[in-house]
Symmetry: C2
Subunit: 326 residues, 2 copies
């Protein structure tokens, strides 16, 4: 592999060396997830697609990578007080699972309207759950109280540089396995996965295009990139429950410099893409995970020239099977 | 690998050499499907499980193997008149796809109450479909008429020795990849997969236990093994739409000598097992495919001693997503 450090060390919160170090920590603890292909999907997209299956990752989502990397890096002294975060989704499971693996307490703040299936999953990893009102303020203040009281380290779901480094290992494995790719596309919520993917890809494959995918109903990154400044996520409205959050300073800092474009997709397109993957590839992906699939199937994306091999990060497969949207 | 020919050549319709030859024909045309594992499933079963994912095979089921092997073996003279079969399920798709690959016509007789999704799939591979009344007699006489009129070769879904040889390649790949296994378990419909699996496994791993799984509502093989003679399938009643048929002379001949046991499972157990695989492994399997999973989760199976590593053939993932049974 040609290693070309296109990004000066120290320019961002996370470097390619951080990603490589994260990969070593993750090896043997997480799964090196398979990359699947489908001739039918290739035909529909008009190019070759490579699906990095993070739905097969520990806890069913890429979030394991960042959670484990950040938690395994804590000193024994810091770690023994435990870790905490607020999340109703895959990051909560990632932190709970990583804490269980390290043998330290996890404190998870979850909104009191979280689906039972998600509460059960987090409980299943032995975490202490605190329910709060379903507002950003309540989540933040509850988290601060718990952190203060317990001394537990707050693990931010995407702005934490070690989380970004962990998420960058998915692209690292994909590039190691496939060599060159003309483009890589992944969903953007808080931007942890996408910024880690940017660091990895720009360092190893400087000419590869980097695309984000967002729901039209939560398109803050799209608007931010257009305006050239980080805009907040305002009243998101989408089926993609993993992409409701706004960006962070550290993730935006990377995304603004390296993203080639962001494609936005409707919830209808997401549901169609999700069903397509279930039907043709026989694997389960959650709605947020279907955004890049919907993007590559869009007429706009199909018009792109000079892009033959596209890597798609399938981010997760955690969906309540009693609430399938088709 | 220790090659121990426990089965004299010529004893059955299909030999290990036939399976090996089939493997060569299938290589590069079909997928060498992955073998997945799950710690959660291992814990639930109380032993190590290895899932051979034929739901990722061409046409979404292992049936591709037998269909392709039989059709690719036809002489050019025989092949040019085409192939025909009656099936409303995965074998229909396998024959249609294999014929398309070989560039010859396929004539498929399907009952006129076949779900639209199955008709579409077979049509999608360019086959000529003839609808008939949904009775065994109508299917058989319609097929005979078509074969007579066109000269197309009838490809029996399971009693054809070359189909059995093709189905035996799934176990062959599994044994090549994993080495020793204490047991292999697969569903039994007409017995094509299970008899091919017996030939392969008894030849390569003489001491490995061979188990079948059947729905309680279509337990002809279970009853046959108990009685020591091939009994017909009588008014089957199960959600497992791929396991409704009776055995054939060639498959029974092998099964009666080599099966260690057949486990029968209720439709409720099948649905529970299917949901478990969807939720925890993030892959889609159809009801028939869930029977061996349900079997290994049963108290009866858990009591077995001396069986640590179990290979499970996940046979297919073709399910109408608008009719998920949970």
């Amino acid at each position: 592999m040609v290693v070309s450090h296109q990004i000066p060390m120290g320019k961002y919160a996370t470097s390619i060396d951080d990603v490589r170090a994260a990969a070593k920590r993750i090896r043997g603890v997480g799964h090196r997830t398979p990359i699947l292909t489908s001739k039918t999907l290739d035909q529909l997209a008009g190019r070759k697609l490579f699906f990095k299956c993070e739905n097969f990752q520990k806890i069913g989502a890429f979030k394991f990578r960042g959670g484990w990397n950040a938690i395994s890096m804590l000193s024994d002294k810091d770690a023994k007080k435990g870790v905490c975060t607020h999340s109703s989704g895959n990051h909560a499971q990632a932190v709970a699972y990583a804490a269980l693996k390290r043998g330290i307490p996890a404190y998870i703040v979850m909104p009191n309207n979280s689906p039972g299936v998600k509460l059960e999953a987090v409980k299943g990893y032995g975490a202490n759950i605190t329910l709060c009102e379903p507002t950003s303020e309540a989540r933040q203040t509850t988290l601060e109280k718990i952190s203060e009281k317990t001394g537990a380290e707050v693990i931010h779901p995407f702005n934490n540089p070690n989380v970004i480094a962990g998420q960058g290992t998915a692209a690292l494995e994909m590039i190691e396995d496939l060599g060159n790719l003309d483009a890589i596309i992944a969903p953007i919520g808080g931007g942890g996965l996408m910024s880690g993917t940017c660091i990895t890809t720009r360092s190893l494959l400087p000419n590869t295009k980097l695309f984000g995918a967002e729901p039209k109903g939560a398109d803050d990154a799209y608007r931010s990139l257009k305006e050239g400044k980080m805009l907040p996520q305002e009243s998101p409205n989408t089926i993609c429950d993993g992409l409701l959050t706004g960006l962070g300073e550290n993730t935006w800092d990377i995304l603004k410099d390296h993203l080639n474009a962001i494609y936005t997709v409707s919830d209808d397109e997401v549901i169609k893409a999700m069903k397509l993957i279930w039907e043709r590839m026989k694997i389960i992906i959650e709605p947020s995970c279907a955004t890049p699939v919907a993007a590559v199937m869009s007429p706009e994306f199909k018009e792109l020239k000079g892009i033959e091999k596209v890597g798609i990060i399938l981010t997760g497969g955690n969906i309540d099977l009693s609430k399938i949207p088709f």
